[in-house]
Subunit: 320 residues, 2 copies
């Protein structure tokens, strides 16, 4: 990645249905790693094009519009470019922002794709019930912190794992997890999980994959559910680690299911109805890790894969 | 395993609610391998007790009964002992046999636990739809042969894998699979699956695990489903093989789910209503591999794990 300077006319070409936006906040998300690979036929989103700006989720302000649904001054979130100004032709991926009495950057996180990921993954994929035992990995991240809070609000017992003392403190003291641990300090993940889940795990919200998944499989309860949201520990490996304990799915009659937030975007308004009151009443909090300036975005993105970020990684391009 | 001779009184003890049965047909099933391990806390069925008869599914005739639901002359299927006569105290595991115009041995297979496994796994876990692409491994086995036929009856495209030319012939010529292949002759399982499923796999009925599972994951379609019925290739390994391609669950928004037939036994009468007409009308056929005599049962059981059996492995202890 490199920063390039060029110029763009701040106007939609005549006859085009595109919108021209000023980008305010850009979102660094783990799924973007997959877009650095060669395209695979069935990928749900295209690979990055060498020589073109990175594309990703962001919050933007409409400066000019050829599309009847958008007008100058509108705030939107959706897929945009990693640049100061973008001409967006795929306007079907844009959501208009109506609620502005929350931080605008939240539309890269709790009110955007990661929020929908937590909502769909937890409520739709996991079918959670009050009192169940819930484990979340990468629990202080953009999605994990929400899953843990949603689970607590439902009356579940919730434990999170993360990769530093600061993150573990956040989980326990800010997000209200019942317990949390630093996976880097556990030489035996199976033993760690047995310590926190002597009765076993009903729901695992999977963000990391690899050894943690193998350890969770050993600790599943009957009819356990694993929502496969991400496998961040595996994305930079030449070959993903082998998972050895899948026989647990059989013995425990358990389910493991992958999902992608965009398949649930038709429920976005339901989600806002749920989560906006939670935010305003202080029942859910959201921690962001803010990088300043477009030039900070490559390092911010790469930092996800070593866990450098604390909370949702956002890049501020402009504040308004 | 060894054959021991001892004597038993062919009468239920006074005051007992047990039943005393003569065992006719014994069932050799892959799940029994797990019962040779030390008990694990959450196992769904106990380990075998060294020094005691093997227990397993069988078809038996009641000789004496202390239980109001059973009387002398009744035919039953359920958990019994690998012996000529058994005193069964866990009578809740016994089903009375009402339909005797089919081979009695079928109650160890198509009309017993393996039948319920195919029924529950295919219809309940896979939620199949007409026209979908279905792959079945260990496809000529007690369960696989039924899944393939059920899928064909529903209008699916069905391919099966098995471990010999004879079995592949059975799949194509007797069970009506669209295609079948000998996995032992395929050096690249991924390539084999791409040959038979150029459009990918909607449903995988998993009986084997390991490398085949890894190859299927690479060929899943969006919203694919994997019913984990068994992992027979893994049961005799010191440590199960690693499965590397689980990220497919995420990219394809796919589901992988383990299940056990006994959780669906409350639907047994529904299953009989479906399958008995199929049998009588010749729409479903069932192939058994019959071993004669109780003394043949150890080798018959062990043979499952090298694929020696062709079709459902049954041991005949007595024919009436």
């Amino acid at each position: 990645m490199q920063v390039k300077t060029s110029s763009i006319k701040l106007k939609v070409p005549d006859g085009s249905e595109a919108v021209l936006v000023k980008n305010l906040y850009l979102s660094c998300d783990p799924y973007m790693r997959g877009r650095m690979n060669r395209p695979i036929s069935a990928s749900y989103i295209g690979s990055f094009q060498p020589g073109s700006p990175i594309s990703g989720y962001g919050v933007s302000k409409v400066l000019d519009s050829g599309h009847p649904n958008f007008k100058k001054g509108d705030l939107v979130w959706g897929l945009t470019g990693w640049e100061e100004y973008s001409l967006i032709t795929a306007t079907e991926s844009l959501f208009k922002i109506h609620n502005t009495d929350v931080p605008l950057s939240y539309y890269t996180g709790i009110l955007g794709m990661p929020g929908m990921t937590a909502y769909a993954g937890f409520y739709e994929i996991c079918s959670p019930k009050k009192g169940e035992y819930v484990f979340v990995s990468a629990a202080s991240g953009a999605v994990g912190q929400l899953v843990g809070q949603f689970a607590k609000l439902l009356g579940c017992y919730v434990v999170g794992s993360a990769g530093s003392k600061d993150k573990v403190d956040l989980l326990k003291n800010k997000f209200g997890f019942d317990e949390a641990f630093n996976y880097k300090e556990e030489s035996d993940l199976d033993a760690a999980l047995k310590r926190y889940f002597p009765e076993g795990i009903d729901i695992y919200f999977e963000n990391v994959g690899g050894k943690m998944l193998d350890a969770v499989l050993l600790n599943l309860r009957v009819h356990g559910r694993i929502a496969v949201c991400g496998l961040i520990s595996q994305y930079n490996l030449e070959r993903p680690e082998g998972v050895h304990n899948l026989s647990a799915l059989l013995l425990k009659q358990a389910r493991m299911e992958g999902f992608l937030a965009p398949s649930f975007y038709h429920k976005y308004s339901n989600y806002l109805e749920l989560v906006l009151p939670y935010i305003k009443e202080g029942k859910v909090t959201y921690v962001e890790d803010i990088a300043e300036g477009l030039e900070s975005s490559p390092a911010a993105l790469v930092g996800l894969f070593t866990g450098r970020n604390v909370g949702k990684q956002v890049v501020v391009v402009a504040r308004e």
